[in-house]
């Protein structure tokens, strides 16, 4: 699971502190990214006492190294880090497809800050000062979420469809899609490698009272195909005449 040596590469000069109780076998591992040593120490003690294994770093770059080298059950990220804004860090982690839930900590009290934090990819937000019982409860709630509920993003190869921000990206770059094309891409990504009947697409894209022109699905598919191709998507939409469509990941067998 963990390559600790990679995470603490001396080349990066990383100061990763492992703080845990007597045994670390099968314990959920949590990364605390907090430059305030008092708060960081307090959180590590609390989490350690609850039976979690805790790694603590103080810089965003150290956090990226650790989170890419280790599978964490939870990331706790302070917003005001010395080397990089915590929001940027969270965006970068999500761009790198780090899927662990993220609890963001901040002393910024405005509603806009909280909204920005959540829309950047954090799963929950805790404003400092906070009560330790509330911190514990939020950690427990994030850890018991089923994996499928933690993330509202769907992926196929280098394509990411984010239902929260209503954005689709290829290799981190946003795609210029109209609403129906976005819905179509989401459906195909969720059913990647499976044939999606034309009727199912119609039911997803249109309501009972919508008038659907005979070639509207074909037109959306045509446009989507072009957008994906020019963005360098590593997947292609395959057509099965009279049946439907399928998103085929490059390198996968078409007959799959």
């Amino acid at each position: 699971m963990v390559n600790r040596n990679a995470a603490v590469s001396p080349a990066g000069g990383m100061a990763l502190k492992e703080e845990s109780g007597p045994s670390t076998i099968s314990r959920p591992r949590i990364l605390v990214v907090e430059d305030d040593s008092d708060i960081g120490g307090l959180l590590s003690r609390e989490l350690g006492a609850l039976g979690y294994t805790v790694d603590r770093v103080e810089l965003a770059e150290e956090a990226l190294l650790a989170a890419t080298a280790t599978v964490y059950a939870l990331l706790i990220v302070d917003l005001g880090l010395p080397d990089r804004d915590g929001l940027d860090l969270v965006r970068e982690m999500r761009r790198l497809l780090i899927e662990a839930p993220i609890l963001m900590l901040t002393a910024r009290r405005k509603v806009e800050d909280r909204v920005l934090g959540l829309s950047s990819g954090a799963d929950d937000y805790l404003v400092k000062p906070f009560a330790i019982p509330e911190f514990r409860a939020r950690v427990a709630a994030l850890l018991r979420r089923p994996a499928r509920m933690r993330d509202n993003r769907f992926r196929a190869a280098n394509i990411v469809v984010d239902r929260d921000s209503l954005e689709a990206r290829v290799g981190g770059v946003g795609l210029p899609l109209a609403r129906k094309q976005f819905q179509l891409l989401e459906l195909l990504v969720r059913r990647k490698n499976h044939m999606t009947p034309k009727r199912m697409i119609e039911e997803t894209l249109y309501g009972f009272n919508d008038e659907v022109s005979p070639n509207s699905i074909e037109a959306h598919i045509y446009k989507l195909r072009n957008v994906l191709k020019s963005a360098g998507a590593e997947a292609t939409i395959e057509t099965r005449r009279g049946i439907g469509y399928r998103l085929v990941l490059h390198g996968d067998s078409v007959e799959g």
Binding site: D36, S37, D38, I39, G41, L42, R45, G80, T106, A107, L126, V127, K128, P129, F130, A131, I132, E134
Partner: protein, 117 residues
Amino acid sequence: MNGWKPCPDKTALALLDPDGSFLERLQQDREALKALLERLPEEGGDRKTALTKLEKLAHRLAGAAGTFGHDAIGEAAMALEDCVAEAAVVPTAPLIDMAIEKAGRLHGLLNKAVEET
């Protein structure tokens, strides 16, 4: 602060800060605040630097003090942070006076916490 009330008894404080490192920090902050407070009445570049440092110190304390059970310090730091942020943009005499008053109040609370513990 998320509806949490202070727990001022020493046992609770000791649980949150078993090695006393936060208390040590309060001591350092008290000294730093005193030095900055002395620089505030003087106009010019030094005041600007002092305001920036004061805002940073207040921001850190506003976030941490309440979490460690020092609610009154956290609230005073929060009030100071808001005031200093405004004074840093337009350092009018009334705002500077208000910042000095709030910094003085915070200094008094830090004194109390350090002396009592």
